[in-house]
Symmetry: C2
């Protein structure tokens, strides 16, 4: 895609009201625009990143046998009365009898109840990637705490606690893979169920270490043990309870959570199943959330430098950023050849100074930058720069495709 | 996918409150579930159809140079005050200062204003596939008139009316391709701009002939001329004004619309551009809508019989429906071979009677049905049936892949 065509403009000045790195950099680089507190639009660059993240999540959720659905945001109040969540502070109420879904247990449970009757129908897990609304008193931190945000929420249904636990562990592993594929190092932390399932049930949060975190965790770099600092203080131990290694304390961002719901919601909707012995028994539920837009913000918090964003390959809006320094003819030829090979390219064809083009490229954070200049072309080369390492190489133009292929696979087709 | 695993149950009885074919059949076949008047959940089968329709739309919109974005549903009231649409009847108001977007001119115009300043930045067109909310007094007709629905809305920005008109014609052609690829025969009808752009501006509706239509149009089968019956009555002509052929009068469903917005919205937000002569001039806008979920309902209205849905190949949830009549071993072998070839298959492995399996298959409406039975296998064959034509053939099992490939291409990869 030609940069002159792209609907995005960079801005070297940070927005006045940006209270964190992700809001600042994503706005300056033209990925998002703030519409009101906690509510953002995704411009083409931001939309492309969202789609990449969604694709990773869809692949990993499908892989553990979840089935994708789409439930509405506008939901009947009567459903929420059945679980006592009709007067939750954060719920938007567009009319007297409706609630904008802040979670979907109240919708998915009666929905699946119509489908699953016998033990033979179990287990099943439905998920969706859908827009949630929460009237947060203080929306803040860019994409980290929004009033409207994109969430992957999944709900599993089981005939026994044992079956649930097995499935919970499978999802727990899939969550690690999602974050790893998004370029994040995540830790699984024991937590309490809170508003979703009650204090006594098991639940875990996934957290990523970054300075911008609202929470604090202690974790062990050796064995991966991690714990919320509040719980750790109660435990009164300074070392890792598993491997006795010393623990690190860092700010962190929660990027997902998984819950044992027990039969709280199935009981509320009278959802039972007929077991092998012909008896009616309670359905055991689990739920599994990932903040999709929050994940985008977290990636920026975890991966940037003073010049801009550093996108991990897997979620970058484009793979290559080709900069023409007044050599548009040759740069276009290189671009279209690589596009034919299936690489995703942003091509800076703009009539801007080299300095402006370099600064914009750093700000946008595309993994590999290719500079096409007179000086390089005279040597039969282009300059290739790795945004993350800063490493720069002169590559013979005819070997560019081969070199880039060692760095990543073509994405299209 | 195994049908025993799929989260869907068919129901031979129509829902008591279904007032139309699409609500009836899609509910009975397990594609959607009504959550409240005008609000539906999409179960895995329905979600798959939605995704296919979205993919067609995305391809055609990208093809005319639109760029995909995502704007929020929750929007600030102040934006709507600027255009005088803050007190529109159909607007949900979740809080005193917010509106749930029923259209997005009020969001996209100030957004793009930050990006486009000079004539060099024009033209551009942004689109999104996003959830709209309209508090319809009478939500009805299943997916045809919802309170929450999925829409593709696009907004183009131009330096002149001439440039706008050229682009408008390009989009108009792309719209025909979208409907054609969805298996629908559509007509482009002159209409008035109404709430979007005012009575004096040009606009067109795209309509599909079906009995369930709320509107009535007259159209010419020979040259494609079509007109709303009200306008036609004013014209007082019984024959096609282009080719003098006789006109047909039929009920129809509106499946899209395109509008000349002039500078109504750009004026409201003070969005001007600097022209070649250095002067500030008004920006000319167009907008282009397709009801995505409505399109799904329309396809069912246009393509069904007394036994169920007949999905066009391009939007079917699966390409093949393989039915095992107590021959699961062989049926599974055939299924996994064809899945490896890249075909999308729903495999009915359930322990149900042949009659139940046949009836469900007709209801679901997957384009090709393959029956694996003892009688056929003894002849080295399977039975292949075309859902649309009813044509049944005995095909040697080893030639099945070849035969199906002549019918459609593998979808995956």
């Amino acid at each position: 895609m030609k940069q002159s065509f792209l609907a995005a403009k960079t801005n070297m000045n940070a927005p006045a009201d940006a209270d964190c790195i992700n809001a600042k950099l994503l706005t300056q680089a033209g990925f998002i625009k703030k519409e009101m507190a906690g509510v953002y639009s995704y411009l083409p660059l931001g939309f492309r990143v969202l789609e990449k993240i969604k694709k990773i999540i869809v692949e990993e959720m499908d892989n553990v046998g979840m089935q994708q659905t789409l439930m509405p945001a506008l939901t009947p109040l009567e459903n929420w009365k059945k679980t006592g969540r009709d007067n939750v502070d954060i719920a938007y109420r567009p009319t007297e009898n409706t609630v904008l879904g802040f979670s979907h247990e109240e919708i998915v449970t009666p929905l699946i109840k119509e489908i699953m009757r016998s033990y033979k129908d179990f287990p099943k897990c439905l998920y969706q990637i859908q827009t949630k609304f929460r009237n947060e008193a203080r929306a803040k931190s860019g994409l980290l705490r929004g009033r409207e945000f994109i969430m992957k929420d999944a709900y599993s249904f089981h005939t026994s606690e044992e079956d649930f636990k097995q499935y919970y562990d499978k999802v727990a592993e899939a969550y690690f893979r999602v974050y790893e594929r998004c370029g994040l190092e995540s830790y699984k932390i024991e937590a309490s169920g809170g508003i979703m399932s009650g204090e006594e049930k098991i639940s875990h949060e996934y957290s990523v270490v970054t300075k911008a975190g609202e929470d604090t965790m202690v974790f062990c770099k050796k064995c991966g043990f991690a714990q919320n600092i509040e719980i750790s203080k109660k435990r009164k131990g300074d070392d890792c309870p598993n491997c006795k290694n010393s623990l690190n304390e860092e700010k962190c961002i929660e990027v997902g959570n998984i819950f044992d719901l027990g039969s709280k919601y199935s009981d509320a909707f009278g959802f039972h199943f007929t077991d092998t012995d012909g008896k009616q028994k309670p359905v055991h539920m689990g739920c599994y959330g990932i903040g999709v837009s929050r994940l985008m913000g977290t990636i920026v918090e975890a991966s940037h430098d003073e010049n801009g964003i550093i996108w991990p390959q897997t979620v970058a809006p484009f793979q290559l950023h080709i900069l023409s320094l007044r050599e548009n003819e040759k740069a276009e030829e290189i671009t279209s050849n690589l596009e034919e090979d299936g690489f995703e390219i942003l091509y800076d064809d703009r009539n801007e100074s080299p300095g402006k083009k370099f600064a914009d490229s750093d700000l946008l954070g595309i993994p590999l930058r290719v500079v096409v200049s007179k000086r390089m072309l005279e040597k039969g080369c282009v300059e290739l720069r790795n945004r993350k390492t800063g490493e720069t190489q002169e590559i013979p133009t005819r070997e560019l495709q081969k070199y880039i292929s060692t760095y990543f696979m073509p994405i299209k087709k």
